[in-house]
Amino acid sequence: MAILKRYAVRRVLKALLTVYLVATGTFFLVRMLPGNPVEVYINTQMSQYGVSYAEASSQAAGLFSFNPNEPLIQQYGDFLAGLVRGDLGESLLAPGTSVLDIVFEYLPWTLFSVGLGVLISFALGITLGMLMAYWRESWLDHALSLIGSLLQSVPNYLLAMLVVVFFGVQLEILPIADMRGAYSPGVTPNLSFDFLSDVMYHAGLPITIYVLTTIGGWMLVMKSSTVETLGEDYVTVARARGLTDGRIRSAYVGRNAVLPLVPQLAITLGFVVGGSILVEQVFQYQGIGYLLFQSVQRRDYPVLQGILLVVTIAVVAANLIADLLYGRLDPRVRLNGEE
């Protein structure tokens, strides 16, 4: 128990360090560059609206939640203090709206669609992967390998575009225009069946794309992991002991073959959250990727900084959970973490 606790503490500290470094990185990126957004903002305010430098820089200070005339160290201190309070400044384009409020309006939709997509894909992928390993060299194995490779190769946003072009525009099977957004206009978020089915109606396409483009990877990794496990001595011993095939499959092969895939789950989650920017843009699904694109277009730097930070925190948290879970599942990991 003590070992597990020390392992957990180390992992949490590492996660916090990552978030801190990314926050610091974005702070200096936005402020230190020549022609940085703060300077640009001050200059446009001065040239467009004829305000004085002092006035413009105090406006910038409010918007970016720091004062450009203070020494950098003090700005950095203020920024970190704000960060701890959850204050990421205000949006440039919607003054008075806090960055955190904006980000939290969009983030749940991404987490929901990506999370569900990755989980469905993982469950399906490992099942198919095990089948492929058991029936190696059969037509099923060859067919699934081919499909898996094909699906894995096509970038998710390109597949999404193909869906829109063929099923949406050319064949008019899917009402693409109606399916935009996170839920239909006029529907109020609540826990009723109607609302949930409306949510699924809008999230269906992005989720399908996430499943299709990640399932190939899971299938192939699970296949090779299962093949490797089947060659282990303990499986041969289990067979020699006369255990039933079903028991060997679930208790001996399945569990051990899935184990190395668990850390990959978190990495995939991070990758898909990143890729969601592109997929959400294609389907106009209003998640964090959509917000990111909008903010980039409008050069809304405080929001951009907030998105990068919040998404990083989400990914770091997912990694942390996967690592702790892995530590519980496989005792060897936490012993190695001890050295």
Partner: protein, 277 residues
């Protein structure tokens, strides 16, 4: 290396396709006009003998754009993979060899880079910098792609460090660089090649994504830029100009597929149990 590719049918096919695409991308532009003039009388023409894939929103031939447009995409992919591989080998070997605080520092930085969502970071960087040269794009794409290979190089060097032939080299007082270059890297050649190809795949994914979102400046007619224009200028709504969207989508997908099948054959070499009988 090549012999190992010929052993797997799918891997060899991938290699051939990839080689052909490079050939077209490198040689093709010498035979096609480098500047296509706008012809407003020929906007969104359907495929014909004069224009095998039709024309775009400015009346320019799509087939010629396809031939000219692969170079930039493949070049940035290769450069990004080269930069990332170099970083991974140098710092991975350094970490394992020097150990101590150097090792801890490199491992911590690796863990952090691994967790930062790359596309999001790239999008933010693209909004701050002008990414108009292939070198800058490759440096940024490759600059975040090295953690996987670095981890493996570090682990490999750690385990190989204790092997007899490496110890023998050490006893002969051959330098660290010599040992890594002559004894350890050749042992990892297949693995490094596989990672190179994987990194190319990811870099091309991100690169085309940046073009598609309009985050990388559209200065020439590469596949990513074509995709962006086709999508934003409504080519998807006309069945005549469908190839404007389809051609780059198919080209990029085939490129990615050829790279992935090559990866798979490298994997089969590394893990003989996966090999076809």
């Amino acid at each position: 290396m090549l012999r190992s590719l010929t052993r797997s049918k799918a891997g060899f096919a991938g290699f051939i396709v990839f080689a052909l695409m490079i050939l077209v991308a490198v040689v093709g532009p010498f035979f096609t006009p480098s500047h296509l003039s706008t012809d407003l009388n020929a906007v969104y023409l359907p495929p014909s003998t004069g224009h095998p894939l039709g024309t775009d929103s400015e009346g320019r031939d799509i087939a010629i754009q396809m031939i000219n447009g692969g170079r930039a995409v493949i070049l940035v992919g290769v450069l990004a993979a080269a930069i990332s591989t170099l970083i991974a080998i140098v710092f991975g070997a350094l970490a394992a060899y020097l150990g101590g605080w150097v090792d801890s520092l490199i491992v911590s930085v690796t863990d952090i880079v691994l967790t930062v969502p790359q596309i999001v970071l790239l999008a933010v960087l693209a909004s701050l910098y002008k990414l108009d040269s292939p070198w800058v794009l490759a440096a940024i794409l490759g600059g975040f792609a090295w953690p996987y290979l670095l981890r493996s190089v570090r682990a490999q060097v750690f385990s190989l460090k204790e092997r007899e032939y490496v110890e023998a080299a050490q006893l002969l007082d051959l330098g660290t660089g010599w040992i890594v270059g002559r004894e350890i890297l050749p042992n990892m050649a297949t693995f490094i090649m596989m990672n190179f190809v994987v990194t190319m795949t990811n870099a091309i994914y991100a690169l085309v994504g940046l073009y598609f979102l309009g985050l990388a400046p559209i200065v020439d007619d590469n596949w990513g830029a074509m995709l962006n224009k086709a999508w934003t200028r409504g080519a998807i709504f006309f069945s005549d100009s469908l190839f404007y969207v389809l051609a780059p989508v198919i080209a990029i997908s085939v490129l990615q597929l050829s790279l992935v099948t090559m990866t798979r054959s490298f994997e089969e070499i590394l893990n003989p149990r996966l090999r076809e009988s």
